[in-house]
């Protein structure tokens, strides 16, 4: 199980990085979504997978008697999911607004903040 999940996380990271290397905003967005899920999976896997009982303590005990599952990785993932969700939502809106105002979704053509010194650069992108 650990091997399968590790391979899956690795594949997701690879796909995410590949998409991020593209120039199109939508590809980058999906790349970041994949990466963020891959990282959550990594926390889950690295935190240790074991088929113990759920971490519940009987009313008359102060600590679990037998071995129980580690609840901490899930708490970490939950935090990361919530934060990741908020950031991705913000990014959706930012990218959409950027596309509207800048008129392109190609990051090589976004040269408003950093105008080119020459009429055309080596990539042949038109002068903004």
């Amino acid at each position: 199980m650990i091997v399968a999940l590790s391979v899956l996380a690795g594949a997701l990271v690879a796909a995410g990085v590949y998409l991020l290397l593209g120039r199109h905003l939508v590809r980058m967005l999906f790349g970041l979504v994949l990466l963020s899920n891959a990282v959550n999976l990594m926390i889950f896997t690295a935190g240790g997978l074991d088929a113990h009982a759920p971490p519940l303590i009987a009313p008359d005990q102060r600590a679990p008697v037998a071995a129980v599952a580690n609840a901490l990785p899930q708490a970490l993932i939950l935090t990361a999911i919530v934060i990741g969700f908020a950031l991705l939502t913000f990014m959706f809106i930012l990218f959409y607004r950027g596309y509207q105002r800048l008129g392109t979704a190609d990051t090589w053509r976004m040269r408003v903040a950093e105008p080119e010194a020459l009429p055309a650069d080596v990539h042949g992108a038109p002068h903004a």
């Binding site: 991020l20 905003l25 980058m28 970041l32 990466l35 963020s36 990282v39 990594m42 926390i43 896997t45 690295a46 935190g47 240790g48 990785p73 970490l76 935090t79 990361a80 934060i83 908020a86 950031l87 913000f90 990014m91 930012l94 990218f95 607004r97 950027g98 105002r101 800048l102 990051t107 976004m110 040269r111 408003v112 903040a113 950093e114």
Partner: protein, 497 residues
């Protein structure tokens, strides 16, 4: 146990929440905005005084013993960083009061959330908690960066957001692996566990992931491209706060983790940091030499100066770390001040393009004098604060017999002078270009804007002349970083690994 370390976090968040209640009441909102910044400054200074007195303050949040709960730990480095945060928060809040009319609810709230996030990042003793504070800062900085939503801001923000998000994902990835290796995320506990770790190779691999993540945050070579794309686009007060604080949190995180957590293979990790620091210094200063926009020159200088700080960490001697801490504190004040001054220049000339500026020395001698102090402090002229910062780093390099490093540091210093002189000649010294039709009547500068600039300039001069107390503080902070046993003991109590 004192609750004092929680206050620098609570005050800004309370202010942010309160602001939202006064959506319609401009005057009340302004009072909260400035009052909370002042209160935050006071709390940070009180904390600094307490830490100077008691060495180290630890707060176990909720009474949970470490490593199970979250720890807030204020040592000398944290307290110094917080004090500077308080000063910069106050200065930029005053400036924003002059620049942002009206002060918008959302702006006030985000500003204080950013201050709270910064304070949390400087105080926490838990790596996952550090991740959360990074995200808090990041979200606030996203909102502030696109404040006003000009096209240039959206363009810069897209690059800033993507690269910084990648950095936090790398950070989280490193956290996952580190937790898998050790089963803890408390930094003091990690120090104990990693000392005896059976697989140092794996720990080094994780250390490099952290180095990349914090390297992006700190705008180190080769990860710096987001910074000059974004920092010159937002309103002045916002870009000054970001320029002063955000990359420096990355440097702080590097200082903290590579002294407390990852110090098992100094030759490899700190050797790599040394190479990256040199490249950062040189590439940053050369990038600045090629620019003709006021704030973009300053942005590239942030990169080059971050190189000096990381250099201090990479040399890994007590004197070098002292230099790094001193440099950090000096640089935050000076750099934020330069961004604020660029705003004064824009107010009187209407542009930040050096080709179209000119004649400021003759027409606005006060602005020229105010620029002169931080600019030549940054360039390292005695007796200003930057001179001592550079001196410490160079002296540490000489003591460590790293003559190539010293040569590079001196050369980068000269190129920094070149850039500052370039701004001075273009904006202040040369006559106003003929394209500006006829001389306008002199612009009256807002006192809200001039006062913080004067205050920060005074601090720069004061640090330069009265260098001894700051040097002592930096030296003690470096000592705490190099010998973390006391920190570990204070956080963990008597837990054996």
């Amino acid at each position: 146990m004192s609750n004092l370390p929680a206050l620098p976090i609570l005050v800004p968040f309370a202010a942010a929440a309160l602001t939202l209640l006064f959506k319609r009441r401009q005057a009340a909102r302004r009072f909260i905005f400035l009052g909370a910044a002042a209160l935050h400054l006071i709390v940070c200074l009180v904390l600094l005084a307490a830490v100077m007195h008691r060495d180290l303050l630890v707060l176990h949040a909720g009474g949970w013993p470490a490593p199970f709960g979250i720890v807030l730990a204020a040592d000398r480095l944290s307290a110094l960083m917080l004090a500077v945060t308080g000063v910069l928060g106050m200065a930029t809040a005053l400036y924003a009061q002059g620049e942002m009319r009206p002060l918008d609810t959302g702006f006030c709230a985000l500003f204080h959330v950013l201050l709270g996030g910064l304070s949390g990042a400087f105080l926490t003793g838990d790596l996952f908690n550090l991740y959360v504070w990074f995200e808090v800062m990041l979200m606030a900085s996203f909102g502030l960066l696109i404040w006003g939503q000009s096209r240039a801001q959206l363009d810069g923000a897209i690059k800033y957001v993507v690269i910084n998000l990648l950095a936090t994902l790398l950070f989280l990835m490193g956290l996952a692996l580190l937790y898998g290796l050790t089963g803890t995320l408390n930094m003091a506990h990690l120090y104990q566990k990693l000392q005896l770790h059976p697989a140092p190779g794996l720990v080094t691999a994780v250390a490099l992931i952290f180095m990349a993540a914090f390297g992006i945050k700190a705008a180190m070579f080769p990860f710096f491209f987001w910074l000059p794309a974004a920092y010159h686009t937002p309103p002045i007060a916002i870009s000054a706060l970001m320029a002063g604080m955000l990359t420096k949190v990355g440097v702080y995180a590097l200082l903290r983790t590579f002294s407390l957590v990852f110090c098992h293979d100094i030759a490899l990790t700190h050797g790599l940091l040394l190479i990256l620091a040199l490249a950062t210094m040189i590439v940053g200063v050369l990038g600045a030499a090629a620019q003709y926009e006021f704030r973009r020159i300053l942005s590239f200088h942030i990169i080059s100066q971050v190189g000096y700080m990381v250099l201090g960490l990479a040399l890994w001697t007590p004197l070098a770390l002292t230099g790094a801490v001193f440099y950090l504190a000096h640089h935050m004040i000076v750099k934020a001040n330069l961004f604020l001054i660029s705003g004064l220049c824009r107010d009187v000339t209407g542009t930040l393009d050096l080709d179209r500026m000119g004649g400021l020395y003759r027409r606005y001698p006060l602005v020229a004098a105010l620029f002169f102090i931080p600019a030549f402090s940054l360039a390292g002229f005695p007796p200003l604060s930057g001179f001592w910062a550079k001196l410490l780093i160079i002296q540490a390099g000489l003591q460590a017999h790293q003559y190539g490093v010293v040569a590079a540091a001196v050369a980068v210093g000269f190129l920094t002078v070149y850039s500052m002189v370039k701004i001075w000649l273009a904006a202040f010294w040369k006559p106003q270009p003929a394209t500006a039709a006829e001389p306008q009547p002199p612009v009256r500068l807002s006192a809200w804007k001039v006062a913080p600039v004067c205050a920060l300039a005074l601090i720069t001069v004061a640090i330069g002349i009265g260098v001894e107390p700051v040097f002592q503080l930096a030296s003690q902070a470096a000592d705490q970083l190099m010998h973390p046993q006391h920190y570990v003991q204070a956080v963990l109590g008597d837990i054996v690994p």
